[in-house]
């Protein structure tokens, strides 16, 4: 296996060809904030939080999707990146309706966590307060579009792990939202197996168990990696 050597925030790191900058950073203990990324799902660079600076390149690159290259010099925490990341989080908070006080995920929300990490004590952008629907047609779960940040973890886990492909992304711009089936009520989509993986990987309270009320959703998205790894091992053993 060929190896690439590079520098991340001044630390030397050697990674196998094809590894991502995010994996390389984690290898040497450099923490890059992420939201849409989840071990076990394909990376899509939807949230842009993991953007990094690479010397010699004028463009910021998403660490979750950029492969390591020989001699790369990468900076993950410059003042410019810190400012962009805080702005991105403010955009997520103001774009939807994130009312932490009455959310199922309050206290266990990755968006709340990231807000703390980027030092957001208020938003410098105005709140939009859009009118968004809530889909409660599924007999076990609900989808509150007010809390959705369009990370597409649900889309990917349903397609790549469960194999049901219930979820997709519909429309564009401010109308962009997650859709079930062919833009049907979730409860009317026969393909749904009721497995709940989408609820488990959702970083906010957008997808939730109907039995949960304020602050009661304790999802553990990292468990997905255990499942995906176990399956991969199963496929290796005849």
């Amino acid at each position: 296996m060929s190896v690439r050597t590079l520098t991340i925030d001044g630390r030397d790191v050697a990674m196998a060809t094809g590894a991502t900058l995010l994996a390389a950073a984690r290898e040497v203990g450099v923490s890059i904030p992420t939201l849409c990324h989840l071990e076990g799902l394909s990376p899509v660079a939807a949230c842009r939080l993991c953007l990094v600076e690479i010397e010699g390149s004028g463009k910021l690159q998403p660490a979750c999707l950029t492969p390591v290259a020989e001699g790369m010099v990468v900076h993950t925490d410059t003042p410019r990146l810190q400012d962009y990341r805080r702005t991105l989080i403010e955009m997520l908070f103001t774009e939807g309706n994130h009312v932490c006080a009455v959310c199922v995920a309050n206290g266990h929300c990755e968006l709340q966590d990231r807000a703390v990490e980027v030092g957001m004590d208020h938003s410098r952008l105005p709140y939009r307060h859009p009118d968004r629907p809530v889909d409660l047609t599924h007999h076990l779960f609900g989808l509150d579009h007010n809390r959705c940040i369009l990370c597409t973890r649900c889309v990917r886990v349903c397609d790549e792990v469960e194999g049901a492909h219930v979820w997709d992304v519909g429309w564009r711009g401010e109308h962009c939202r997650i859709i079930a089936g062919l833009n049907q009520p979730w409860g009317a989509v026969d393909a749904c197996t009721d497995c709940g993986k989408c609820v488990q990987v959702c970083p906010t309270g957008a997808l939730f168990d109907k039995a949960d009320t304020t602050g009661e959703k304790h999802a553990d998205p990292a468990r997905l990696w255990t499942l995906v790894r176990a399956r991969a091992r199963g496929q290796q053993t005849p």
Partner: protein, 181 residues
């Protein structure tokens, strides 16, 4: 000279003020170090005074009275603090903004959901008019410091006030100080 402290209650549930009262016996220490010059829970003064050093403002700006008071507070206060999530984000009171205007909100609340005898409130000079949208304080006036939380815990409020009493700016970082909700 003692710090002149005020607290103000706009469009919020009073939970931030309840949390302030949860400071319990530390309130006695606080009372020795500040003059409480205006507060719904710690003073009987009706008019907002001049020359206030620090004012904690709970709630967003939702009606004409809120607007009038916050302009007065800003003009007369050195350090204006957005106290709690409603002041910072509009939070739960701001959920009415999706109905897009004061009139649809009143219709929804007083007519559509009424049991048949509903009527729109109308008492000029007594009941303040709703603004079209509930706004966070900093979308109306400049704000100096932000103290998030719904409500901010008593421990967080104390950790915020203690540096101010020493004449220092509180360090607002980390989950203990700035986590919303």
């Amino acid at each position: 000279m003692k710090l002149r402290l005020a607290t103000v209650w706009l469009a919020g549930c009073s939970g931030c003020h309840m949390s302030f009262l949860d400071l319990d016996e530390w309130l006695i220490e606080l009372a020795e170090q500040v003059d409480v010059v205006f507060s719904p829970v710690a003073s009987d003064i009706k008019g907002f005074p001049e020359n206030v050093d620090v004012c904690l403002v709970e709630g967003g700006v939702a009606n004409g009275d809120n607007l009038e008071l916050i302009l007065q507070v800003r003009a007369r206060t050195r350090l204006l603090v957005s106290f709690g999530d409603c002041a910072i984000t509009a939070n739960v009171p701001g959920m009415r903004n999706r109905l897009d205007g004061a009139e649809p909100v009143l219709r929804r609340g007083y007519l559509e959901l009424a049991d048949g005898s509903g009527q729109l409130p109308h008492a000029p000079g007594l009941v303040p008019d709703l603004l079209e949208r509930v706004l966070p304080l900093h979308e109306v006036v400049p704000v100096d410091l932000y103290l998030p939380g719904c409500p901010p815990s008593a421990a967080r409020i104390r950790a915020f006030l203690e540096p101010l009493l020493r004449g220092e700016r509180p360090v607002m970082e980390g989950a203990a100080m700035i986590r919303f909700g």
